[in-house]
Subunit: 331 residues, 2 copies
Amino acid sequence: MKKFVNDPKNYVPEMLEGLALANPDTLRYVPEYNLIMRADAPREDKVSLVQGSGSGHEPAHVMSVGPGMLDAACPGDVFSAPPTDYVYETVKRVASPKGVLLLVNNYTGDRMAFEMAEELSDADGVTVRTLFIDDDVSVQDSTYTVGRRGVAGNFFVMKACGAAAERGADLDEVYRIGEKVNAVTRTMGLALTACTPPAKGAPLFDLPDDEIEMGVGIHGEPGRRREKLRSADSLVEELLTAVVEDLPYVSGDGVALMVNGLGGTPLGELYLVYGQAHKQLVERGVEIRRSYVGEYCTSLDMAGASLTLVRLDDEIADLLAAPAEIPVHVF
Amino acid sequence: MKKFVNDPKNYVPEMLEGLALANPDTLRYVPEYNLIMRADAPREDKVSLVQGSGSGHEPAHVMSVGPGMLDAACPGDVFSAPPTDYVYETVKRVASPKGVLLLVNNYTGDRMAFEMAEELSDADGVTVRTLFIDDDVSVQDSTYTVGRRGVAGNFFVMKACGAAAERGADLDEVYRIGEKVNAVTRTMGLALTACTPPAKGAPLFDLPDDEIEMGVGIHGEPGRRREKLRSADSLVEELLTAVVEDLPYVSGDGVALMVNGLGGTPLGELYLVYGQAHKQLVERGVEIRRSYVGEYCTSLDMAGASLTLVRLDDEIADLLAAPAEIPVHVF
């Protein structure tokens, strides 16, 4: 295993400590519960947004805490849902009179932890709602899910809900927006290589030198099939066709297009992928109104990428364009 | 080779085309000369800034074009200096009455191309100055250099010069600032793995599974030595000691600290490295005033990282804090 790591058991806490040290004025790290929160949370004048999941998907979600985005994130260990009490303690710390919205990718372990934390918080008199994100079109059920998985599209739900909350929308309204964005967001990714969790010390699965995993999950879960590596353009075509035909996105639609790197793929390749996806969408008559290229939801050091489309209307486009400030985008 | 690539010969143009398609309102791509420029360049009221080098270091420099940063970037092919005429044609397109500053990492091929382009531009009556960046403390001379190499520290020179130019400073003043920042900036990196140039199709050098290259160059050039992989903390200590003792940075200094990923190392590991570097600097009595964690100057898909320190005074700190807007940081 070739990684910057000390004791693999401390990989997540050491990462979170580094994150807090790099952002001393804006973020606070609470080691007992693995949580990262805004230094100024809770803001009583807004709904608080919380997201959590296993670690290993950075910048999702611990590096997405800040004005216009999350109020707190509570990660578990690498690829493990956060324990219920981590979620519960996080909610307690950012509880606002306007309520708390939990944004959760649809995995069985995460659902359980967050639903139980919601019940505990309700009993404390905190108003909480939980929204599940399930944008991955690759498979219907998966290793860790009933129903579709939540992947890189979660960025758009966070961003739109974050903007609405910042503008003072109430909890039901922020929930409505999140549900609306999730309903028009679709993603599919592929792995060129496996990833290596620090505690395992070896690749999570075997992928021969000339094969890819089409439709891979962000924890290395199987996708649609193994196949031979081929040209970037042809890989993009398969990903894009799967995404486009699922909603479907049709000629005349205006969209946001995201090319998300899975961790080990450099930015140059992501822009090459973006160019081809852009051209193929234009050929389909789809208008690209917003573009996102980079790492938004990764899978440790996996080489690969995912494509996400969001169908925009004026409301969503306006929320996505709102200002936000998070560590990963700081100059 | 597991990459998103079509014909390897087209890797760079396809990447640049994707970059321009993702930023239609702000960037323009000129395929004949591989150049990316601001759509509103030249701005007659400011000095124009141009940087170029081989490709494969993204976001340096093609994704660093925008207000407060570069006016144009002219990359060569992967790890190859841009041809003189690419540089010359770039200068022509962003020539401002206030002059043009060329920011060049210190490599023999790049120096030649930019110095000849400067002469050609001078003959056309364009006022041009060229500043060389050489922040890498690892080796005195290297495979492609006489003197030290320019690596991730170039970001700070770009940023400070970009801010000064945006505020209307004249060419000599922007040059003075660039030289001043370069003089107080030091970097060293290490490779956990080699990188794979698309046209070669295989790793650029062999690095056994349990070894690292301490002091690696951003083109895979040898550093100080091969050694066994060890704990992150201990690797950080060696990098940081080499950087700190070179200037030297001393107790009471205020600095910017950058942890730069070399392409294949995920953000989580970079923050773990940041945390340790931060703590070791505090122990040395050095005050960290600004923090940078992410990818600034990569080496294709190489796993590894570099540490950069900049000694701040009020002038440099103010320029680094100025607003800027580049594709890689867009929401």
